[in-house]
C-alpha cells in the first residue's frame, strides 16, 4: 500500500507580474519517481523551492511527508534532500569536507560524519578525489558530489532540480542509474527536467507544467496514448527524395496531421495501421530507397508539442525575466 509523499493543492506564487506558479496541484506517491516536466520558465524550480520550504507560496497548501511546508517547515527539512540546478557544493572545500560539514550540521558526532562522508564518496566514485578542492572537479564530479551532499542525512524524499542539465551523455546515464538505485531502496524522488527522454526513462508519473499551470498529468504511457495513434517515419537515403517522400507520407495523414520534415526525416501522425505496408509499396514504386522506415508510439516530445502548442526548448526569455523579477523583487 503506497501513500502520498507529496501533496500540493492550488499552489500560487508570483514574482511581480510573473505568475511562476498559477494553481498547481500534484500528488507524488511514496517510493516512486515523480516527474515535473516543462520548458524553461514553466515554474518547475519555483515549485521545488516551495516544496523544500525555501519559498513561501502566496496561496495553496503543500504537505510533504505528512508535514505542512508552512506550519512545520523544520520537520519537512528533516525529510528532504535537495539538489539544485547548479551544483551547490562549496568550491573552496574538498569533497570530503563538504560532506563532513553537512553531517556535522545535522548534529552528528565527528566520527559518524566522517564515515558517512567516506561511504558516500565511495558510492559516488569520488574516493580518489576526496581531498581535492571541489574547484578542481569536473562538471560530472561536482554533480555527483552535489547529489551525495543531498543524501548525507538519508532523506526519505529527494528533490532533483534538472539534475542532468549540462551533463555529457555518459554522466547522465550514470546519474540515472544512481537515481534508480535510490528509488529501489525506498526513496521518493521529485524530478524536474526539460528533457522528455529523461522523464520518460525515469518517472512513474509525470505532470507537465507550462506558465505555472498543470497542462497534462499521467504515466508516460498514458500521456503518449493521449496524443493517440502512431507515428510513421521515413528517412530517404538520398536527401533529394525528401520532397517525394513527404508527398507519399502526406497521403496517410488527415487534415489535422501534416507531415513534419526535419531535413532528414519525414514523420507523420497516423491512425491507419495498414499505412506502413502501403508506404513500403508506394516508396518502392517511386524508386525511393530509405535508410529508415518505421512505425512508433509518439515520443514525449510530440506529447509536449500537442499539449503546449510549442516545442520544449523555447522560452528562455521567460526564465530570465522570472529570474530578474526575483532579484529585484
Amino acid at each position: 500500500m503506497t501513500s502520498s509523499a507529496i501533496e500540493a493543492e492550488g499552489l500560487v506564487r508570483t514574482f511581480g507580474k510573473v505568475r511562476a506558479l498559477d494553481g498547481i496541484d500534484l500528488v507524488a506517491r511514496e517510493g516512486t519517481v515523480f516527474g515535473l516536466l516543462g520548458p524553461n520558465g514553466a515554474g518547475k524550480t519555483t515549485a521545488i523551492r516551495v516544496l523544500s520550504t525555501l519559498l513561501r507560496p502566496d496561496a495553496g497548501r503543500a504537505v510533504v511527508g505528512g508535514y505542512d511546508v508552512l506550519h512545520e517547515p523544520a520537520k519537512v527539512r528533516g525529510l528532504i534532500g535537495l539538489t539544485g540546478q547548479y551544483a551547490a557544493v562549496d568550491e573552496l572545500l574538498s569533497g570530503q569536507d563538504n560532506l563532513f560539514m553537512i553531517g556535522r550540521l545535522l548534529g552528528w558526532r565527528k566520527a559518524d560524519a566522517r564515515s558517512r562522508a567516506a561511504e558516500l564518496l565511495e558510492a559516488f566514485d569520488l574516493s580518489d578525489a576526496a581531498t581535492k578542492y571541489v574547484k578542481q572537479y569536473s562538471g560530472g564530479m561536482r554533480r555527483r558530489l552535489d547529489l551525495a551532499a543531498s543524501l548525507v542525512g538519508r532523506p526519505k524524499l529527494l528533490y532533483l532540480d534538472e539534475p542532468t542539465t549540462g551533463l555529457d551523455p555518459r554522466s547522465r546515464l550514470e546519474l540515472w542509474k544512481m537515481i534508480r538505485t535510490l528509488v529501489a531502496e525506498g526513496t521518493t524522488v521529485l524530478l524536474t527536467t526539460q528533457y522528455l527522454e529523461e522523464a520518460d526513462r525515469l518517472a512513474d508519473e509525470i505532470v507537465v507544467i507550462d506558465h505555472g499551470k498543470v497542462i497534462a498529468a499521467g504515466t508516460p504511457q498514458q500521456l503518449k496514448m493521449r496524443v493517440g495513434g502512431q507515428v510513421l517515419q521515413a528517412q530517404p537515403a538520398d536527401p533529394a527524395d525528401l520532397v517525394a517522400t513527404e508527398r507519399i507520407l502526406a497521403s496517410f495523414g488527415d487534415a489535422e496531421n501534416a507531415p513534419h520534415n526535419d531535413g532528414q526525416l519525414i514523420s507523420i501522425r497516423i491512425n491507419d495501421r495498414s499505412a506502413l505496408g502501403q508506404a513500403v509499396r508506394q516508396l518502392d514504386d517511386a524508386g525511393i530507397v530509405v535508410d529508415d522506415l518505421s512505425l512508433r508510439r509518439p515520443s514525449l516530445d510530440e506529447v509536449f508539442l500537442a499539449v503546449t502548442g510549442h516545442v520544449a526548448e523555447e522560452d528562455e526569455l521567460g526564465e530570465h525575466a522570472a529570474a530578474d523579477e526575483r532579484r529585484t523583487a
Binding site: A87, V89, I102, Y133, G153, E185
Partner: protein, 262 residues
Amino acid sequence: MSAVTVTPAGRPNVLSNTLTIARRNLLHIKATPEQLVEMSIQPIMFLVLFVYVFGGAIAGSSAAYLQFALPGILVQAVSFLPFTTALALNTDFQRGVIDRFRSLPIARSAVISGRILADGVRILWSILIITGFSMILGFRFEGGAAGAFGAVLLVLAWGLVMCWPMAFIGITARSPESVNTWGFMIILPLTFASSAFANPDTMPGWLQAIVKANPVTSVIDAARGLMLGGPVAEPLTDAIVWMAALLAIFVPLAIVRYRRRI
C-alpha cells in the same frame, strides 16, 4: 550505503551549527592563500611604506610617525577585511550554497552567526599580526596594558560592525565584480579621509569638515587615545554612537535583503 548508524538529529544546536559554519568559512583561507596575504602581509606592507616613506616628512621621524600611524593603519586594515564577507556571501548565493544550508534541518541564524564568528577570528588575527610587527619596529603602547586591550577590542568591534554594511552589499550586488566596485568606492575614501595618516588640522577646511564627520576618525582617535594614553572619552563616545547607529541601520537592512533574496 547504510553501514553507519547515526543518532537521529534532534533539535538543531545553534552553537554547534555556528561553529561548523565558522570552521567552513575559515577553511576557505586554506584554499585561497591570497586571503592570508590580504590579512597579514598587505597591511604590514602598508605600515612599512607609510612609516618609512612619509614618516620623516609628516612627523619628523619614522619612529614618531609609527606611534601616530599604527592606530590608523589597524583601523584601515580591519575596514577592508569585511570585503571578503561580501564576496563570500555573494558567491554563496550565486552558487546555491545558501539554498543548501536552508534546506537542511539546522538553525537558520547559524549561517549568519557562523559568518560573524569567522570574521571575528580573521579580524583579530590581522590586528595581532600588525600590532606584533609594529612592536618589532619599535612601537610602544604608552597607555598601558588596559589601554592596549581596550584598543584591540575597539578595533575588533569596528571590524565586526563593518561586516554588516559589507554583508548588505554582498547580498544586494548582482556579481562579485560589482561587490568590488561598491566596496572599494566606499571603504577607500572612508579610511583615507580620516585622521589615519595625517593630522586633520593640516588639511583644507572643506576636507576637515568631512574628516571630522567621518566615523572612522572617531574610531581612530579613540584607539589612538587608548594606545598612546591621550584623550579618550569624547572620541570613544562618538565611536560607540557611530557603531550603534551603523548596526541599527545595516543589520535590519542586511537581514531584510537576505530574506528577500532567498
